[in-house]
Symmetry: C2
Subunit: 343 residues, 2 copies
C-alpha cells in the first residue's frame, strides 16, 4: 500500500525536513497521502464547517506520544482518533469533527505513515466523525520520536445533558463498562518484547456510540470519565476531589481479564493504575443503575459492564477500596505513573 | 516569576517524565501553572462552551516546533496563539476559543514554561480569544526538543462572508498588509547567533482585529492568506493553483524592511520565500482596493499595506513576478524550504 514520493525523479520513502516546510514536498505529501485517506482537499487551513444546530458545543484536545507507535490491538493513529472522540463523549457530546496535527521526526517511513493514516480514516468512520483540518511539521532526526499526533475535536451536547463531576451525589452508583488494564499492558508488552498467553491487546475503541445509547435511556448520568493515564484509581480520585465527595469501590467487583492479572503479577504492577483506552466510568442515580448496566452489557464494547461502587458523603475527596479480604483502604493517585508514554 | 513544584519536599525545577503521566505531579503542574495563566479549572477534559450563535463555525489546528523557542520579537507560545487565531481570521472567522496541547521533553525548565504560558495568556488576551482546554505530555530526554505546542481553534463566520481562493476573479487586486520576511530572519538570526543593525524582529501578531475592520468596510474580499511557511511566493502559488487563475505581482511594490533586505543579501536568501507571522494577503474586488488599503494603513499592524499585484485569466495556476528591472519571470514554490522549523 506504500506510495513513493518523488521530486525530480528521486524516490523518497522517508519523511525529509523539507516535508515540513510549506513547499512542494509538503504539498505532495498532503495531496498523495493525507488528502486521499481523509477525503479532504487540503490539510493546511481553517475549515468552515456545515451549519451546526445551535446546541452547546464541546471542544477538546489531546496529543499522543505513545511508544511504540504500533502495539497489540492498535496504533498511535487510531488511539488519537478514539481518544479525542472519547473525551467528547465523556461530557455527553456527540463528536462531529476532528483536526489532526502531525509532528514527524525526519526519516519517518512513508509506509508507516500510510498505515497510520489508513487506520485513522477507518477509526473516524467507525466513530462517525470527520477529520476536517490538519497540519504537518517535521523536526530534525533526534529531536522527535517517529511521530507525535495531536487531535482536537468538537461535538454537540444535547438539551438536558449536563455531565460533570460536580453533579454527583451521595448514593450514586459507580459503573464501569469493561475490564481494566488492557491498553497499558499491551503497550508495555510490545515495548519490552514480552508476550502473554492469553495475549493482552489494547482496548482502544470509540465510546460515543455506547454513550449515545446510555443517554437515550436516561439523563440521570451525573459524571463520566474514561480512565486513561493513571488508570481507574487516578480517575476516581479526580472525580472525588472535584466533587468533594467520597467514592467507595469494591475490588472484587472490578472486571479484570485473567491475562492482565497474570501480566501485572509478573511485572509487579497494580492494574488499578494501568491505563485504559476503551472503557468508561459512569456515576449515575441509584434507581437507574441496574437497567443501565443491562443495556450497556448488550453493547459489543460493554459486555463486561459492572457496578463497582458508590458515592458517599465522607470522607471528603477520598477514594476507598474495599479489598477482597474484607478490609478497606484509602487509595491515592501515584505521584508520577508506572508507565510513561502510554498514550 | 518561577514557581517550584515540590512533591514530598523535593524541589523540582524541570519537567520530569512523571509530569506527563496523569498522576499527582501532572495535576500539580496543571494547577500551579496552566490553570493560573489560562484562568481555567482543569487542562484535561472536554470543555462545554457557552452557547454560540448559529453561525457557521471555522475549525483549525497547527503544531508549533520553532527552533529556538525564544527569538527576537516573540516565542513559541505567542506564535502558537497568533498562528491559529490568524488561520481562523483568514477565512473571515471571528476567533473565539483555542485549545493548547504541550509535548515537553523531559528536563524542560519550569521557568521557561512559565515564560511561555504568560506570553500565551497575554497573546490570547490581545487576540480576544479564550484558551479553554489543553493537554500535557512528556517524552524522554532526546525524544523531543524542549517543547512543541499544538493549538486548535474555533471561530464563527458571519453571514455573507465567503472567503476562499476559489472565489477570486481576473481583475482582482492583491493587497499585502506589511513588510515581508521579518519572522524568518529573526528566527534564523537567533538560531545562528547573528545580529543585524537595524535589528530584525518577528512580526508575530494577531490579524483578526485588522480583518474585522476590513470586513466591516467591504464583503468583497475574495481570498485571504497569511504567508507563513514558504513565504509570499508559496502562498500566492497555492492560491493560483486552487483558483486556476494567474497572479501577477510587481517586485517593486512589495514592502520589505531594509534590515531584512540586508540580512537576506548577507545570507543568500530570497525574502519572497521567507516566513511571516503577522501579515496577510487579501485578494479583493478592484473597486474596493484603494479604500481598503487606506483603511488598513490606519491600523497599527497595517501601516505598510500596499497593492502588490492583480489576478489575470492566464497562464493558469501561475505566479508571475514583474522584476524591478522590467522583466517578468515565472516563480514557483521551492521543493522544500530555505529555513526549516520556522514555526
Amino acid at each position: 500500500m506504500q506510495r513513493i514520493i518523488g521530486i525530480g525523479g528521486a524516490i523518497v520513502d522517508k519523511i525529509l525536513l523539507g516535508h515540513g516546510s510549506g513547499g512542494r514536498l509538503m504539498h505532495q505529501l498532503i495531496r498523495e497521502h493525507f488528502a486521499i485517506e481523509f477525503d479532504i482537499k487540503s490539510l493546511n487551513d481553517s475549515t468552515v464547517l456545515d451549519r451546526i444546530n445551535p446546541n452547546r458545543l464541546a471542544f477538546t484536545t489531546d496529543s499522543y506520544v505513545v511508544s511504540p507507535i504500533f502495539f497489540p490491538g492498535g496504533n498511535i493513529g487510531e488511539l488519537a482518533v478514539y481518544g479525542t472522540v472519547n473525551d467528547l463523549a465523556m461530557v455527553g457530546a456527540k463528536p462531529l469533527y476532528l483536526t489532526a496535527g502531525f509532528i514527524f521526526e525526519e526519516g519517518f517511513l512513508i509506509s508507516d505513515l500510510k498505515r497510520i493514516l489508513l487506520s485513522m480514516a477507518n477509526a473516524a468512520k467507525r466513530a462517525g466523525v470527520k477529520i476536517v483540518a490538519g497540519d504537518t511539521k517535521v523536526v530534525n532526526k533526534g529531536k522527535g520520536d517517529g511521530v507525535f499526533i495531536n487531535t482536537s475535536g468538537i461535538g454537540v451536547v444535547a438539551e438536558g445533558v449536563d455531565i460533570a463531576p460536580s453533579k454527583i451525589e451521595a448514593g450514586d452508583k459507580v459503573v464501569i463498562s469493561g475490564t481494566i488494564g488492557n491498553h497499558g499492558i499491551a503497550v508495555l508488552a510490545e515495548r519490552n518484547g514480552l508476550s502473554f498467553d492469553p495475549p493482552v491487546v489494547s482496548d482502544t475503541a470509540p465510546l460515543n456510540h455506547l454513550v449515545e445509547k446510555m443517554l437515550e435511556t436516561t439523563k440521570d448520568i451525573h459524571a463520566m470519565r474514561d480512565p486513561t493515564r493513571g488508570g481507574l484509581i487516578t480517575t476516581l480520585k479526580e472525580i472525588a476531589l472535584e466533587s468533594g465527595l467520597c467514592i467507595e469501590i469494591s475490588e472484587g467487583a472490578i472486571p479484570v481479564a485473567s491475562g492482565v492479572i497474570g501480566a501485572c503479577e509478573l511485572l509487579g504492577l497494580d492494574p488499578l493504575y494501568v491505563a485504559n483506552e476503551g472503557i468508561l466510568i459512569a456515576i449515575v442515580m441509584p434507581d437507574v443503575a441496574e437497567s443501565l448496566v443491562k443495556l450497556m452489557r448488550q453493547h459489543p464494547i460493554g459486555k463486561n459492564t459492572n457496578i463497582i461502587g458508590e458515592v458517599a458523603e465522607a470522607p471528603e475527596g477520598m477514594v476507598l477500596l474495599r479489598t477482597k479480604i474484607g478490609g478497606t483502604r484509602i487509595v491515592e493517585m501515584l505521584a508520577g505513573e508506572q508507565l510513561p508514554r502510554i498514550c
